[in-house]
């Protein structure tokens, strides 16, 4: 199987309400990705939240390079998660986690 390049995205989830858990966030991005781009694209994205601080809303997600634009688009059009208004802010992308912290 051909190895697919990964990309890491540093993000911040602004919210107006209670804390949002990483599972809720991941599920909502998946659903948005599925709705916007379909099952094949969602599956190929290999979306995974590596790190997420529930209190600050900062985190890192991983996806494949070809799906990066779609994952970001799917995340930024999320208006609310479980009734809490949110604003997803993509901050930085990199090919390595180390690169995000530089």
């Amino acid at each position: 199987m051909k190895k697919v390049r990964r990309r890491y995205l540093l993000f911040k989830l602004h919210r107006d309400g209670p804390v949002i858990e990483d599972k809720q966030l991941s599920l909502t991005i998946w659903k948005s990705l599925l709705s916007l781009f379909g099952e094949i694209q969602a599956a190929d994205s290999k979306l995974y939240i590596i790190d997420y601080n529930e209190s600050t809303g900062e985190g890192i997600l991983q996806c494949t390079l070809p799906s990066l634009q779609q994952v970001i688009a799917a995340a930024v059009v999320i208006g609310e998660i479980n009734g809490t208004a949110v604003s997803f802010e993509p901050k930085k992308t990199s090919g390595t986690i180390k690169g995000l912290h530089r």
């Binding site: 602004h14 059009v77 208004a85 604003s87």
Partner: protein, 229 residues
């Protein structure tokens, strides 16, 4: 560096919350509808607030009356897509800055209207708020409406600006987030960046000149009056 021309806050008390959120997201300013008297106001360091008026008249006459009363007081004047006659009139009128796509209406941007707007320097405004509130089939229909409008405008060389249309501070998005929504609507990355940065700023710059007391028309300016020495 982005300027959001479409914040739809309903109360003066919300301006602070919007300003806080805009600062966090790195916006350099936003336009607000009817909640401040000055056309352009610096609310805090690196954040400007400008006044916007939406002309909701149903006929050309009512919109014309409204624009005569408000143009000198507002930095941004927009006309929503409600009637073809009004939109065609607004597209040609140099006092109107934005034509706002309304995905709930059946009226779509026509090629002829886009060409008129391109010649009259009137921009197409796409508000992202309906996309954030919807999902599934409803969102798909909104995307269809927006993508068609963007495509028609770009083909006719009519400029497009992306705004939040936010009624709540969480409806604001950072410049990178807005650019990705622009790509979703069929723009390339460079154009999406300009739709949230350089194009809104060019409208403000143009209107700043027009709102100066000595301005008569493009290229004509009162430098000194007859009785002045």
């Amino acid at each position: 560096m982005s300027f959001d021309l479409g914040v739809l806050a309903t109360d003066v008390t919300e301006i602070d919350a919007f300003s806080d959120m805009a600062s966090k997201l790195g916006l350099i300013g936003f336009a607000i509808v009817g909640l401040q008297s000055e056309p352009l106001n610096t609310v805090r360091e690196n954040l400007q607030l400008c006044n916007r008026v939406i002309l909701r008249g149903k006929s050309i006459n009512s919109v014309r009356t409204q624009i005569e009363k408000t143009r000198r007081k507002a930095m941004i004047v927009s006309v929503p897509f409600r009637s073809i006659d009004v939109v065609n009139w607004a597209a040609e009128d140099k006092r109107v800055d934005l034509l706002t796509v309304d995905p709930t209406q059946d009226i779509r941007l026509r090629d002829t209207t886009a060409r008129l707007a391109s010649a009259g320097n009137t921009y197409l405004e796409i508000q992202i708020a309906p996309l954030l509130k919807s999902s599934g089939l409803t969102r798909s229909k909104i995307l269809k409406s927006y993508r068609e409008s963007v495509s028609t405008a770009m083909d006719a060389e009519m400029d497009v600006v992306l705004t939040s249309g936010a009624i709540h501070p969480m409806g604001l998005r950072s410049s990178v987030a807005m650019a990705h929504i622009g790509i979703l609507l069929g723009m390339d990355r460079a154009y999406a960046d300009s739709a949230i940065g350089s194009l809104p700023l060019s409208i403000i710059e143009r209107n700043m000149k027009k709102l100066q007391p000595g301005f008569v028309s493009n290229g004509v300016e009162v430098l000194q009056k007859g009785d002045e020495k």
